[in-house]
């Protein structure tokens, strides 16, 4: 990135942060400068369709003002702010803070704990060069697909964001977050067969196109035999991607404040929350850890807006490994400092990754299928998941890109897709068996949440409510 630092040209993000803080005239000030770069390839029907390489830059200024009834905040975000424009942004944030009513989530700004050793480092950048090995391999996969009667559709994306957080309380923190994913949808037989494979990555060095393509071929082959099935409740193997999509929705629904207010599945009748209540007899653990290998994410709070489970006042707060469910018992909910005081529960802010394991489970998804007795279903992934009833966290959605029929441990064919109605909270209590925990790409929420490790789960009586003719 070019960085001249002169007025009228792009400045270094650290310079923007320091300038904004030096201009602050109110009781407190937080500044987040973010530099982003991303590159992508998209394809359909064995040909590339769109592509791009983009760079972005944003500055968020949060001014705080202590008044007679409490502390208020004003938040402004602007892209590509020049040094000579910063004062206007700071003054506007301050004016908003002065005019605002006291914020319920206001708490003293987090004090600085020493300089970040990498504070002075430049932002990390990605370019299309990250696809240096991937693109030719993809071209070869297109050739194979054409010659063998398949069509490939998909998307590959790599992005890097670097955030600099500074505050009038002495914070100087820097975080680099790489992310990426490769997704392939394969179709054959006049698009009557469909499957999907996806992989999360941080640098594409671990993405093996040939291996992904081979899995597409294997799964399309399962559809050689079609089996008619009526709607109903079926024992079902949910692959890690499907488990992730359901558990991420549960995670997003775990605001302590909302539970305390009596309006979520985690609210206790009569008041309070269900923390401490057993959700499952199965020894299931759902947790987050900013240092989880391969899922590394910001070890401190980064918040550009307050909400039911986040607070701009908590920026810079250190994050720790947190069990949300431990040994089947609800252990913690998403907290801000304000909600932790309100609920009298430990301070457990949200962390940007999610893991699940069933104690003692080993083996792959294939091993879990092989150990499945009698008849069951094996899903490819889930799609269009939406909340139907917050009281039970009942979610609806569709199976997508192939529902396979398993009999005595073997895939014997493919059924239709279904609409499901299920609650992930209830599902935790109906786990029959699990695989080991593995890095996966959440199919539906991959736009927002790519850092997940989940097992495949076999659950009892998954509710396939109605038939979807989609193929």
């Amino acid at each position: 990135m070019t960085a001249t630092g002169s007025a009228g040209a792009a400045a270094r993000p650290q310079e923007l942060v320091e300038r904004a803080l030096s201009l602050s005239r109110t009781d407190g000030c937080l500044v987040l400068a973010e530099e982003t770069s991303s590159t992508n390839l998209r394809w359909a029907g064995n040909t590339l369709t769109t592509n791009g390489e983009m760079r972005g830059r944003s500055l968020t200024v949060i001014a705080t003002v202590a008044g007679a009834t409490g502390t208020s905040s004003g938040v402004l975000s602007r892209s590509n702010v020049r040094l000579d424009e910063i004062e206007a942004v700071v003054r506007a944030a301050e004016a908003a803070a002065v005019a605002a009513e006291a914020a319920e989530d206001a708490r003293p700004l987090v004090a600085g704990t020493g300089d970040d050793a990498h504070w002075a480092d430049d932002p990390a950048v990605t370019t299309s060069a990250v696809f240096g090995a991937f693109a030719p391999a993809l071209g070869a996969a297109f050739e194979r697909a054409r010659s063998q009667g398949r069509e490939l559709f998909g998307f590959a994306e790599h992005d890097v964001s670097t955030t600099y957080l500074g505050s009038s309380a002495g914070l100087r923190l820097r975080h680099v977050q790489p992310g990426g994913r490769a997704e392939i949808t394969g179709k054959s037989h006049a698009r009557t067969r469909s499957t999907f494979v996806g992989q999360a990555t941080t640098d594409f060095t671990d993405v093996d196109v040939d291996q992904l393509d081979a899995e597409v071929v294997r799964r399309l082959g399962w559809a050689a035999r079609t089996i008619e099935l009526a709607p109903g409740r079926y024992d079902t193997v949910l692959p890690p991607t499907a488990v992730a999509d359901l558990m991420i929705y549960l995670y997003w629904s775990a605001s302590a404040r909302e539970a305390h207010d009596g309006r979520t599945v985690f609210s206790k009748p009569g008041g309070g929350t269900r923390v401490g209540e057993r959700l499952s007899e199965v020894p299931v653990r759902l947790w987050s850890d900013p240092a989880a290998p391969g899922l590394d994410c910001s070890p401190f709070v980064l918040a550009t807006a307050s909400g039911p489970a986040s607070s701009v006042f908590d920026n810079g707060l250190r994050l720790s490994p947190t069990d949300w469910v431990a040994d089947g018992t609800l252990s913690a909910l998403l907290q801000t400092r304000a909600s932790a005081e309100l609920t009298a529960l430990p301070l457990t802010p949200a962390v940007d990754n999610l893991l699940l394991e069933v104690s003692g489970s080993t083996g792959s998804t294939d091993d879990l299928v092989a150990a499945t007795p009698g008849r069951a279903l094996l899903l490819t992934c889930l799609w269009y998941i939406r909340e139907v009833d917050p009281q039970t966290l009942l979610l609806t959605g569709l199976t997508r890109d192939g529902v396979h029929v398993v009999e005595d441990g073997e895939v014997i064919g493919t059924a239709t897709n279904f609409r499901f109605n299920e609650s992930p909270v209830d599902l935790m209590g109906r786990i029959q068996a699990a695989s080991d925990t593995q890095r996966c790409l959440p199919r539906e929420w991959g736009d927002y949440f790519t850092r997940a490790s989940m097992p495949a789960l076999r659950v009892e009586g998954f509710n396939m409510s109605t038939v979807s003719p989609a193929s």
């Binding site: 394809w43 769109t50 908003a96 009596g262 609806t396 890109d401």
Partner: protein, 508 residues
């Protein structure tokens, strides 16, 4: 009131930037190049129980260069608005096209479009909502919240307003240059009631739609006609609607005749017709993400989509429409056309490349992006179900239904990857017995397959039942893009629709 394009946007050096980028693209031998500069202002304010919970006030400015080089697309974007960076981004776009060439088998060709040089468009609004101070917005929402919290049975109130202003400059190598400005606003009020003993809770949300209007929308009017909504009336009835829902009987699952109000029907239209008639989906371009469509291109002109009463239009022209614009992000002028006529599929949503490949004379102007950072893709126009002149009112439709449910306000939605199987809930379901409303029921969801549902449409309301509703948050594409879109609909009657009990679905 007519407005001028903001001078601050014009002062960004649009012509110099685009001239530098387009000249470099021509030097590098492109067949086509376009430059798009966007400034998007987005403000969101949320109150919990009358107190500020969170706010954001963002402005994203940047530019993009898109080229067709040797038959392949190339795209690059940046936030540094100066001519030197424009040249670098132009070169990067061409480099992306060269990277794409070996992986592309289909050459990009653009359908012709007249040249529009130096034209401007400003949407229809009175008060720029992004210029209203946050404190003034908060004061209004706080007052509404306090009034609602004072009502029996209301335990919590969520109040929010989202205001957006978009400025877009577009210039291409054919000579078209357009400058546009649009605003939109989405207020949203939800009341929550809780039975402390049982822990049961429920909500009731306003059905006031998001709209392509300014802050004047919040003032409201008794008729709702001048500024678009009668806020006083809707807020006054929310507590009683919530109290009734909390004690309503649970619906019995089964088949029902449904009278669906446009505040709910717009979303069913969006999902089952709007998305299903996107030509990029029908051709498979969205197969990995949003999905495909059962309404494949070979069925154009023959697919029986619904009953004879079904007349659906696409447009980018209707006043206050969220997808209304002067020109799309390929320089194509806004239009109106039929998508379904007499129940038969007769049209699609197009961009210039698909229009050319599929033999259309021109695009109907449905290519756009949500920011400078994203490439234009085929997105949705305002897709609306037309009312029947002289058609029935809601009371007549309810009478005609005999035994059934009256469905008001959107809530939960979901549809499959080919747009067949959908399931929707609502803010409220009223039981219809003997052709009359007989109070609310709860725990209902209606589910159908698209052509079965529209085929069961037995009566379509008249213009007096028509409402232009919509959403700010339609998602599509990879990388993901968000678009605002309106859908007009009258009330309508559907016979024999599957209704689920959601408590039973949860296995309780």
């Amino acid at each position: 009131m007519s407005h001028e394009i903001d001078s601050e946007f014009g002062d960004l050096g649009l012509q110099e930037l685009s001239a530098a980028a387009l000249a470099r693209c021509v030097e590098l031998g492109v067949e086509h190049a376009d430059v798009r500069v966007e400034r998007n202002r987005s403000q969101h304010l949320r109150l919990r129980d009358g107190r500020p919970e969170g706010s954001s006030d963002g402005e994203d400015t940047g530019f993009a260069v898109r080229v067709v080089h040797d038959g392949s697309w190339g795209f690059a974007a940046s936030v540094d608005l100066h001519p030197g960076e424009a040249v670098r981004v132009a070169e990067q776009a061409v480099a992306m096209a060269r990277l794409s060439r070996p992986l592309s088998t289909e050459r990009v060709e653009l359908a012709p479009e007249p040249v529009y040089a130096g034209v401007t468009y400003v949407s229809s609004y009175e008060i720029d909502p992004t210029l209203v101070p946050e404190a003034e917005k908060a004061a209004l929402l706080a007052q509404w919240s306090r009034d609602l919290l004072a009502a029996d049975g209301v335990d919590h109130v969520d109040a929010s307003v989202h205001a957006v202003k978009e400025n877009t400059y577009y210039a291409d190598t054919a000579g078209t240059s357009t400058t546009q400005q649009r605003v939109r606003i989405h207020p949203d009020i939800t009341v929550v009631g809780i039975d402390a003993d049982s822990g049961a809770f429920d909500t009731m949300r306003t059905i006031a739609p998001p709209t392509g209007r300014g802050w004047e929308y919040m003032a409201g009017s008794p008729s709702g006609a001048d500024s678009g909504w009668d806020w006083a009336a809707e807020l006054a009835e929310l507590p009683e609607l919530l109290r009734e829902r909390l004690v309503a009987p649970s619906v019995e699952a089964g088949r029902y005749n449904l009278v669906i109000h446009p505040s709910n029907l717009w979303l069913t239209l969006h999902e089952s017709v709007g998305h299903a008639t996107e030509l990029d989906r029908a051709l498979g371009y969205e197969a990995n993400y949003a999905g495909t469509s059962f309404a494949t291109f070979d069925k154009l002109g023959s697919l029986r989509y619904g009953s004879d009463l079904m007349h659906v239009t696409g447009d980018r022209l209707v006043e206050h429409g969220l997808s209304t614009v002067g020109f799309d992000d390929e320089g194509v002028a806004a239009q109106r056309w039929d998508i379904i006529s007499g129940g038969v599929l007769v049209g699609y949503q197009l961009d210039r490349n698909m229009a050319s490949h599929k033999g259309f004379a021109r695009s109907n102007g449905c290519a756009f992006a949500d920011s400078a950072m994203h490439v234009p893709i085929q997105r949705m126009p305002n897709v609306s179900l037309q009312p029947v002149e002289g058609g029935p009112g809601v009371a007549e439709l309810v009478q005609d239904a005999g035994d059934g449910l009256y469905v008001v306000g959107d809530k939960s939605w979901s549809i499959d990857m080919q747009r067949y199987n959908f399931q929707f809930t609502a803010q409220r379901f009223y039981r219809i017995r003997g052709g009359k409303l007989a109070g609310q029921v709860k725990d209902a969801a209606y589910q159908a397959n698209t052509t079965d549902f529209w085929g069961s449409m037995a009566a379509v309301g008249g213009p007096a039942t028509y409402l232009l509703a919509g959403a700010f948050n339609c998602g599509k594409g990879q990388p993901g893009q968000v678009a605002a879109v309106s859908h007009g609909a009258p009330a309508a009657l559907f016979r024999g629709i599957n209704v689920l009990n959601t408590v039973a679905e949860a296995g309780r």
